[in-house]
Subunit: 127 residues, 2 copies
């Protein structure tokens, strides 16, 4: 393979680096998934649905999704102040892909878990 | 929403936690993407295609993908020893989803980048 061909390959996958890298992590996927199940949701409701996420990580995940235009944050000037999050049209357009990914994971979960267990046993024996 | 309904939601997204969390990161997606473009590939060839990945991270990414049965590692007993990586059938079945994700990223890249820039400007002004 020539240097030019190798570079072409890197350019082609560039959207993964620039776009997906920002929300290509389990927390962002989970947040999008949950937002899709609700018209709009408050921060604390969202936090309760992902009990093992820290407030800091949830905040920064939402901040990134908002900055990238996948999530809309609305502040209601009430007392106490109410802040709600919902998916934008761009965010919603990502949902079918996340659903495919979740279905794939569901269908392959058993085989992956079995493989992982077998692999870990075989490598621990050869150590 | 009742406690039971909230738990249901968490159970439904469980495959994301158990399965996707392992390779739901940009490096694993990039590695699968590149492996799909090649019948089989040596470690150093793969490393050259992702210049900014460290050897350590590439190793551990491949190790996880191998453990989960997405990647097959073959050792050829030559001198010097040759090790090649290729996607398994399970790994290949994930490719159409990664392709959808990449296409989505490509289609939405411009709007996301613009939004990000506008968002950063507006938040830095309000600080």
């Amino acid at each position: 393979m020539t240097k030019k061909e190798e570079n072409k390959s890197i350019i082609e996958i560039c959207p993964i680096r620039n776009v997906i890298a920002r929300f290509g992590n389990k927390w962002a996927l989970l947040v999008i998934f949950i937002l899709n199940e609700n018209d709009s949701i408050r921060f604390n409701q969202l936090a309760r649905k992902i009990p093992d996420i820290s407030t800091k990580v949830l905040s920064s995940t939402l901040h990134i999704l908002e900055a990238d235009g996948l999530v809309k944050r609305t502040v209601f000037p009430e007392v106490p102040i109410r802040v709600e999050y919902e998916l934008t049209e761009t965010g919603k357009s990502l949902v079918p892909i996340i659903t495919s990914l979740t279905e794939w994971a569901q269908n392959n979960k058993k085989s992956i878990m079995n493989h992982r267990k077998k692999f870990e046993n075989s490598t621990s024996k050869s150590d």
